[in-house]
Symmetry: C2
Subunit: 343 residues, 2 copies
DNA sequence: AAAATTACTGCAAACGTTTGCGGTTTCGTT
DNA sequence: AACGAAACCGCAAACGTTTGCAGTAATTTT
């Protein structure tokens, strides 16, 4: 009852015919008589025969598996991406190997190699914060494994990418803060080696400049987690003049800021307005609800998978690098809901 | 540059030696001279040689891959579980295939077969809400693939399981509501075919009985998502006498309830106290913050993976079914923070 | 009745690895 | 000078599958 899975050989032995006949019968090959096919199929069913994907993969150099390299799974945006990838993969008969890097470069290189070992047909990757070298990714490409980036793109590698328009999103967020009267806006940013960190910062700067506000370098903090907010928020709120707006690089940072502002006895949005990035479920749960930039992880994952399938089917080199850029949407909520204060 | 991965044959051909020698050299076999080993290793490095896991798997009937069947990835608890599994797998050199069922029985059967096809070394599963037949899971066992359940256990299959003590958690939650003076407590429950749904309901009932409160069947609603809350909350709040406490089967349901109570002009916890289950990050972000039962997904995933590794190493039948039950912890927050009202 | 067709089926190689066994060298002993 | 033993190395089979080719039997054509 509980043994090794049945093979084509087992069927052949049981029926006293050759494995090639069994193989052809199972694939409904015209060479095989209806009678034999019937018998083979019946026996296959009875033994719960299932073709060995490793053998198939070895023979065809196709594993029907794709890899996903992702910084953190426990994260609304990233888990949404995986969900989109999963659904797209399921529809097309692919399996998904998920590898979490926990933002560590070393682990990223390890999992890239593991995916190569497994001869995955393609890899979707969002790079870790700490990754500055990318040999492990070009290694995949050099071995004929197509790559598609999502969200965290690596600028040094020429391939497809699926992202939201980080620059524009940041610009909209910052301009919205200006439009509700903020004049001293702090930006809590992600590291610059991440393209999203850089682009969102540039969007912030540009929005200020276009609205005749000075970009004060002291208003830009490297601060992209709630832990770092904990560390730095005290100093920031004590500054004179006190900032009147925050644009945080992601929602959880923004919410941490809101909580600390409230704890300090100040009011959001009256004293300080806050905007996040991502529009996760927390944005509607916190109080006040959070104005933020929508970023549809599911769609991003789904589209990235479509790109990858294209590359798998057409050959890795057949396509020039494409880019799918989702337009960001500003979702206005309570954390910026105040009357315009003209000066 | 961008071709098929190098094989042991390529190395053999390049060096004019046999594949067996190369294979042994790479494994540092004593039969092979230091000189040859040196040359082989150098060439392997130069060609970026990586052993083909499919070939290894075929030969050894071990894929070094485990499968995870999970209802929904975009879910704090489940993604935490995956994260724990991932980390434990990474430490032990396993890869993880993640399959999302979206709570659909049909999809669960499909992914189970796909995992069987890939000859995964074991499977971790949390069953879908709609699953009432489990042939697809016994199929795995019958093929020698060990199974371990986490959270959503299937009572009809004899194998290891890792869960929190749902009964006790529900008991604690309900008793806590009673202790802050609630006398008319509604339970929003999950379907009974889910063991967690059943156990949490029983815990609720028992807590009431033990405290000399009648269990009113009308106080138990099948309602385990925020959408269902939307549907049913109006009728519930209109009842006379109005409920003064809610014990929801999970946090997102609890928070949806809180939001609707507030919208109805009532106060939490003064008019109605609310307890959830899960202790996700939302519990500290919502307002009032949510009293809830802690459920450490990461630990559950990690431990489930340990169980599975045990079974993989010792053989599927060598172990009697074990159960790891995490003790639930009641985390008291604002949603039940009110003075005790003795009658 | 012989030849040609049709309808089936089997052999063997290949995918990339591992490994038991046997085969050559090369030495050191006597 | 001859022998045994190290020290190296290669052959071939096996894992489960597919597939070109060749083979055999039955049926049709001439």
């Amino acid at each position: 009852m509980s043994g090794a899975p049945a093979t084509i050989k087992d069927i052949a032995r049981l029926l006293g015919i050759s494995v090639s006949t069994v193989s052809r019968a199972l694939k409904d090959h015209p060479d095989i008589s209806a009678d034999t096919k019937e018998k083979v199929n019946e026996t296959a069913r009875r033994l719960n025969y299932r073709p060995n994907a490793l053998a198939l993969g070895l023979k065809s150099s196709k594993s029907n598996t794709i890899g996903v390299i992702i910084p953190e799974i426990v994260h609304f945006f990233f888990s949404s991406v995986i969900s989109g990838i999963e659904d797209a993969a399921y529809e097309t008969g692919y399996n998904v190997m998920v590898c979490q890097t926990n933002e560590m470069y070393e682990r990223e290189t390890m999992v890239a190699k593991a995916l190569l070992d497994h001869r995955v047909d393609g890899v979707l990757v969002s790079v870790a914060k700490t990754s500055t070298k990318f040999d492990h990714l070009t290694l995949l490409q050099d071995n004929g494994i197509p790559l598609v980036f999502f969200d965290r793109v690596c600028a040094f590698i020429e391939t497809d990418a699926v992202v939201v328009d980080d620059y524009k999103g940041a610009y909209m967020a910052s301009e919205h803060l200006i439009s509700v009267g903020c004049r001293n806006i702090v930006h809590l940013s992600a590291p610059e080696n991440l393209l999203i960190g850089k682009l969102r910062k540039v969007g912030y700067c540009r929005a200020l400049e276009d609205n005749n506000l000075q970009v004060d370098p002291y208003n830009i903090y490297l601060c992209d987690t709630s832990e770092k907010v904990e560390e730095k928020i005290g100093r920031i709120l004590d500054r004179h003049p006190r900032p009147d707006g925050f644009f945080a690089v992601n929602d959880s940072t923004a919410i941490a800021v809101i909580q600390h502002i409230k704890k300090a006895g100040l009011k959001v949005p009256e004293d300080i307005a806050v905007v996040g990035f991502g529009d996760g479920p927390v944005a509607t749960i916190c109080s006040p609800t959070l104005t933020t930039i929508e970023q549809n992880g599911y769609e991003i994952g789904y589209e990235a998978m479509r790109f990858l399938l294209d590359r798998i089917n057409k050959g890795i080199t057949a396509i020039v690098a494409r880019k799918k850029v989702f337009a960001p949407v500003l979702v206005k909520r309570e954390s910026t809901a105040r009357r315009f204060e003209n000066r």
